[in-house]
């Protein structure tokens, strides 16, 4: 009320300009505001600083997490293999009559030619115990690999060919420099002699490091060099499929009913409260429920993705229902009125207009629920999905494990090489989660409509 330019308002100047006409009230207000201003700005500054500190701390923790996982796990993506000239003699694979049949091929001793090939590299190794130590360089999987090669290509019998197979995990770890050879010999898993042979093999160019395809194509194994996550990935896939097929339709239908059709009374209030509570129930409780109901009452198989899917459905349903209801609520009433106004029935209004608009929100909720389910371990332990499963599951009724449980199993294994595998599996799981969350964001962006 004093100066025409409020930004340049100076109570003293205004007072001088207008003489004593300036009311004392105006002056005191401005003074009080001025006095408090510094404090206000300080508070704002402090608050902003807290915010920056919080974000920095969070970023640091995330970085630490990623650095530690990646630094531990990246070596698991490489595998050390040995290439040896191998000859599978005809005698070895022939049966008593001297014929080669499928059966005789299947029952031959394939370790022998491999060992012979290795011995040929070191003619000086003679004693039995030394030879046994030498054989340890080879992976147990090598003889199976040789058998498969012969089965697929019987022409190889009697000829010399080069076979590349993984070395056993101790030497893989040695090759990756993770074994300290200065430690006293009896305190480590690789003896000086073994290390010497291995070095000799390296010098002869027989050892190479390649990308570890086993990690992505094999199931679990006691041998770290053979163990892979594919079994767990397939198990997770079946489990999530069952979860998705059950929880999406049920969740959406429940949300539509509750939001659009259910009368508003104390029963629906009760249901709503309970759905919200269910979202907060510890997941292991759902596992116990699954054990008690699906396994014991319905007699479904243990360790099966179906049961895992059912349990995870129970767990994700509240999330999906809550997200879907929020999505339905956010559809503007004007669209509903427009549909009703031209004479659409309630169901037509919902299916033609409300659901399409709510779908992105529902899908986002579903994907977030699925991501939760993908990372879930506890309830699956309860229903036996923690078993050691070597075979790749062929369907949702086969015994299987899932990625997070596989991580848990590997983290529990004593072998040195499983440390890196654990971190590698975590990286894969995180990659899936990031992918799913990105899909959620993209879906929302794609289907988002303005109205």
């Amino acid at each position: 009320m004093a100066s025409p330019n409020p930004n340049a308002y100076d109570p003293a100047a205004a007072a001088a300009a207008e003489g004593t006409a300036v009311s004392t009230r105006t002056r005191t207000t401005a003074d009080i505001v001025n006095a408090g201003l510094k404090g206000r700005y300080r508070a704002e500054k402090r608050f902003r600083m807290y915010g920056v500190i919080a974000i920095a701390a969070a970023l640091m923790m995330v970085t630490t997490l990623f650095v530690s996982i990646v630094s531990k796990g990246y070596t698991a993506f490489a595998i050390t293999s040995i290439s040896l000239p191998v000859t599978v003699e005809r005698d070895l694979v022939a049966n008593a009559e001297g014929e080669i049949t499928d059966r005789s091929i299947a029952f031959a001793n394939y370790a022998a030619p491999l060992r012979a090939a290795l011995e040929a590299q070191f003619p000086e190794v003679e004693s039995r115990s030394e030879r046994r130590a030498l054989y340890e360089i080879l992976s147990d999987g090598a003889s199976f690999q040789l058998q498969r090669m012969i089965e697929e290509n019987p022409d190889l019998i009697g000829r010399e060919f080069t076979m590349t197979s993984p070395v056993s995990s101790d030497f893989d770890v040695l090759n990756k420099g993770q074994i300290d050879l200065t430690v006293p010999e009896n305190m480590r898993r690789v003896s000086d002699a073994q290390a010497g042979w291995f070095e000799a093999l390296q010098e002869r160019g027989l050892i190479e490091t390649t990308f570890n395809t086993n990690l992505f194509t094999n199931g679990d194994s006691r041998q770290p060099e053979l163990a892979g996550i594919w079994g767990a990935v397939v198990g997770s896939f079946y489990t999530l499929m069952v979860t998705l097929l059950l929880s999406f339709p049920i969740g959406v239908a429940a949300a539509v009913y509750l939001e659009e059709f259910a009368p508003k009374n104390k029963w629906t209030d009760l249901i709503e409260v309970n759905i919200n509570n269910l979202a907060a129930v510890p997941s292991i409780v759902f596992g116990l429920l699954g054990l008690a109901v699906f396994l014991q009452v319905f007699g479904l198989p243990r360790s099966a993705p179906v049961v895992g899917g059912l349990v995870l459905t129970l767990m994700t349903l509240p999330t999906i229902i809550i997200a879907s209801r929020a999505a339905l609520k956010s559809v503007p009433p004007s669209i509903r009125e427009a549909a009703l106004g031209v004479g659409a029935s309630k169901l037509q209004m919902i299916t033609h207009h409300v659901l399409p608009l709510a779908m992105p929100g529902m899908l986002t909720g579903t994907i977030i629920g699925m991501a939760q389910a993908l990372g879930e371990t506890a309830p699956l332990l309860m229903i036996g999905m923690v078993a050691f499963v070597v075979d790749i599951p062929g369907g949702p009724m086969d015994p299987a494990t899932v990625l997070p449980v596989q991580i848990y199993l590997w983290a529990d294994s004593p072998e040195r090489a499983f440390v890196a595998k654990t971190s590698a599996a975590i990286m894969v799981l995180l990659a899936f989660l990031v992918f799913m969350n990105a899909a959620a964001v993209l879906l929302r962006k794609k289907f988002e409509r303005r109205w």
Partner: protein, 287 residues
Amino acid sequence: MNTQAPAAAQSAPQADAQQPPAPQETAGAPLLGPGETPKIASRDVHVHYGEKHAIKGVNLDIKENEVTAFIGPSGCGKSTFLRCLNRMNDTIDIARVTGRITLDGQDVYDKRVDVVQLRARVGMVFQKPNPFPKSIFENVAYGPRIHGIARGKDEIEDIVMSSLDRAGLLNEVKDYLDQPGTGLSGGQQQRLCIARAIAVSPEVILMDEPCSALDPIATAKIEELIDELRENYTIVIVTHSMQQAARVSQRTAFFHLGNLVECGDTEQIFTNPQHRLTQGYITGRFG
């Protein structure tokens, strides 16, 4: 929840007669003479929103092929009453409608009346243009399609084109029929909504402040359109603009605090209001 509401609606007008604020006598001529049959007739209509008594016993006849304007200060219940006519209030949980509203002599709150059919006969245009987030074509085609009014592509296309034409929009959009209706300007969107409403060939069109979000040019277009539509439709329009009511309507009803204070020919209402509230409102507006 909503569809049950009409069950509560009573045909007996006496039911609410002993409500504390006794319905006020309406000045002018809210009811038609004995020789004329109204398109829509309401008798002693009360609306409650929970405890709130929003419409207090309205008796009003709406004539066929005329534009009837509802005017009155904000919050007086114009929209509420308008929404009773096609039972749009059914969608509000707490709304309770009593009294009797007839369309061609048939009680619209009767149990045998289907809201879907009623709303196909009584279309509505809302205050804020609310096209579906679909293409312009789909917006107009939606009504005929769900009602099965048109069979086959050609027939639907005919209806869409003629509706857009009658709504005065065809020339502006005929090359963009597959573009989203939400991408049009406000005035175009409102005309699209009108096209959508007339596409189902209703008998009555209810318009709740259809021009309140529009500029004077778009408003003029819509007013012109309303004047043309009058030939074939019965139109009820809520407006805050006295000039608009005077320009487009033949009859005007003035509401105040849930009461229908005065109703009569538009000319008479604006030149010679009988009730002092009407007079105050009209003159207040014009200064």
